[in-house]
């Protein structure tokens, strides 16, 4: 009963805050890490001096956390929410993160995952591929890697908190302008081919994550989905027939972008995000710092005394 009451209160507060920010609705938005939200991020960063000192968490840290650790935010579906379960789930995630280093990565980054496998040679399997999808939240969060091996497209889905995963390496850290890269299945094979012995491409420390705005060439039809209707940004322009244009215009819902309640139901309110991240962020930050230190140690080669 108390849960529903607090949720209702939260709902009301959010309506009020949403009304205040009708012009700039990006403030209360939580979206997965896509580059289209980068501008929104920038806008928020500009606004940070306005945020009050009584906040649980500084605004830039929150803005970063919600894109780097999106799986810590629960499913916004109201019927499935339970605050205690979410708390326990978070503590379990932290337990796993103390054992294994789960780095920052996005859809479009190239990863190498080493995992224990009973049937593999030497009981270890390593797979390199581009991350084409990230989904789920909490312990169910998972990602899909795609690569082309012996001219055959291969995709493997990994659970992020699976205890059989030994190591996750980010070989190339970058973003793409789309939320999901499922269209790579119907694109030319060179866009999803990565050598299994690929060398990691280092990114200078403190630099922002680059957005790769490559335009992918698609194969000829038939496709697995109607990509021309999806409004993809990372694909070369696709031809749409006149008939489909008319149909799309008829099916369009231009009013949805003004629907505050729709937005609310799809997202976790900003205040709750703050509460969630203030619980785990300090430890996450510590883990990240130790990871950076280790990385620097690895990269640094001791100079040899000459003569």
């Amino acid at each position: 009963m108390s849960l529903t009451r607090t949720l209702r209160q939260g709902l009301w507060q959010n309506i009020v805050s949403a009304r205040k920010n009708v012009g700039d609705r990006n403030l209360t938005r939580m979206i997965s890490s896509s580059a289209s939200t980068k501008e929104a991020q920038k806008a928020e960063e500009k606004k940070q001096p306005e945020s009050s000192a009584t906040d649980l968490m500084p605004a830039p840290a929150l803005n970063r956390a919600r894109f780097v650790y999106p799986e810590f935010l629960p499913d916004p579906k109201m019927e499935w929410r339970n605050l205690i379960r979410e708390k326990l789930e978070r503590s379990d995630m932290m337990k796993r993160r103390r054992n294994i280093d789960i780095p920052e990565f996005y859809v479009g980054s190239v990863l190498a995952v080493t995992s224990s496998h009973v049937h593999a040679q030497r009981k270890v399997s390593r797979f390199v591929g581009i991350c084409i999808q990230r989904q789920g939240c909490g312990l169910r969060s998972r990602f899909v890697l795609r690569n082309i091996i012996d001219n055959l497209g291969c995709e493997i889905e990994y659970y992020m908190y699976d205890p059989t995963i030994q190591k996750i390496d980010v070989l190339k850290l970058e973003k793409r302008p789309d939320r999901e890269l499922l269209y790579l299945r119907d694109a030319l094979p060179e866009y999803s081919t990565f050598p299994l012995d690929m060398e990691p491409i280092p990114l200078p420390e403190g630099s922002p994550v680059p957005v790769n705005d490559i335009k992918v060439k698609m194969k000829g039809r038939p496709w697995t989905q109607k990509w021309e209707k999806k409004g993809l940004l990372g694909v070369e322009k696709l031809e749409i027939s006149q008939k489909n244009l008319i149909r799309m215009a008829r099916a369009a819902k231009p009013w949805e972008k003004h629907d505050l309640m729709l937005e609310y139901r799809k997202t976790i309110p900003e205040e709750e995000q703050k509460e969630i991240f203030s619980e785990v962020y300090s430890e996450l930050h510590q883990l990240e710092l130790t990871r950076r230190k280790m990385k620097r140690k690895r990269m640094f080669v001791k100079p040899v005394k000459s003569a």
Binding site: I84, R85, I100
Partner: protein
């Protein structure tokens, strides 16, 4: 269990004396008229059982909240009295409740000896979500989280006094099992009726939002007022879970019974999701009883049997049971029992009998208890050894 919400006050007075009696109350039947002239030997007959017998706890629960025009001082005074009587508000296993001050008024019941025929008490819990877990071999499986919220024993009715509703005395031997009424989730007594709060007076408890009854052997009886915890069970135990399924409303045969429907093409019009023929001709004559047809689906009590407990959280009193298929929606109430499946049952004395008393432990339990086969996420990554 609580589906009949008929009020005692709505039933006419004569109805009470003719057909209705309450469980746990003694009903004196008037003996035959005295002074009969000739003693005729009558055949022995069992006393007729009333057809409708409401359980003791079928009372009107919530009170009409009319405006009582209390001043703030009065309200504060009432609150003070409530806290004096029942204890200050506290957060118990993550849920706002009340810190009861020693509800045990009398000496605890003598604890009986366990035998293989003993039936133990169960728990009332809330289903709060589905969650993946991994075993030591690295296999992933889903578990359902059940939170045991603030459970207390409210009343114990011994088998001699207990008369269950669905019982035909003629065919059964004397009652073996007593009745243990358990309540969950303490609430503010101001929101409940006088009769309903009266149920909890004897045990010295706050009124509970949810009540349930468990049939227990007399040796497994528990003193009213005793709290029940998730550690009533241990990881590795097998339980049955009873709950109301998700209410799906009026559904067609395809969803309700899994019929195939008719074809999408080939001249089928407007009957793609219909069931087709419902009766045969000639001697079969018409629609048979029990024909699967459209209708209300879900919202029925169902028992899922044989669920293994993988993990127990003692801090938030949570039980992680096998599988995602526990009936009911998220945040709905479920009842947990020891399993009745003969091959899954353990025929040894359970670790907690009649229930777990944490004050008797030498050392407090750790926060998480895992099954032997389960992999806790705090333990290191799973590696498989190479064969030589």
């Amino acid at each position: 269990m609580f589906c009949i919400r008929r009020l005692a006050s709505q039933v006419p007075n004569n109805f009470f004396f003719s057909r209705v009696s309450f469980i746990g109350t003694t009903q004196s039947l008037s003996s035959q008229q005295e002074g009969a002239a000739l003693p005729v030997k009558k055949r022995f007959q069992f006393p007729s059982t009333p057809k409708v017998r409401y359980p003791l706890w079928y009372l009107k629960q919530e009170r009409v909240k009319y405006n009582e025009r209390l001043t703030d001082e009065n309200k504060a005074f009432i609150k003070e009295i409530v806290h004096d009587k029942y204890g200050p508000p506290a957060i118990i296993s993550g849920i706002p409740s009340y810190q009861l001050n020693s509800p045990l008024k009398t000496e605890p019941l003598a604890r009986g000896e366990w035998s293989t025929a003993t039936r133990r008490c169960g728990l009332i819990a809330r289903k709060i979500g589905v969650y993946p877990m991994w075993d030591k071999k690295g296999n992933q499986f889903l578990t359902t989280l059940l939170q045991v919220v603030d459970n207390h024993v409210v009343k114990y009715i011994p088998p001699e006094e207990y008369k269950p509703i669905l019982r035909v005395n003629r065919y059964l031997r004397p009652n073996k099992y007593g009745c243990l009424i358990v309540g969950a989730e303490s609430m503010d007594p101001q929101n409940y009726t006088k009769q309903y709060t009266g149920l909890f007076n004897e045990a010295g408890l706050m009124p509970k939002r949810v009540l349930g009854r468990f049939h227990v052997s007399p040796e497994a009886a528990i003193q009213p007022g005793t709290p029940l915890y998730a550690t009533h069970y241990r990881p590795g135990d097998v339980v049955d879970v009873r709950a109301k399924t998700v209410d799906r409303g009026f559904q067609g045969v395809m969803k309700r019974w899994g019929f195939k429907g008719l074809r999408a093409t080939h001249g089928v019009t407007k009957s793609h999701r219909r069931g087709g023929c419902i009766g045969g001709g000639s001697k079969k004559a018409g629609v048979w009883k029990g024909k699967k047809m459209p209708g209300l689906m879900g919202n029925r009590m169902r028992i899922l049997k044989g669920l293994k407990i993988w993990r127990i959280n003692t801090k938030y009193t949570k039980i992680y049971v096998q599988g995602p298929a526990v009936p009911g929606e998220c945040n709905s109430i479920v009842y947990i029992y020891d399993t009745i499946l003969p091959l899954r049952k353990t025929y040894t004395k359970p670790a907690a009998f009649p229930t777990h008393y944490p004050e008797e432990d030498e050392q407090p339990f750790p926060e998480d208890l895992y099954d032997e086969e389960a992999h806790g996420l705090e333990s290191p990554t799973i590696f498989f050894e190479e064969e030589k």
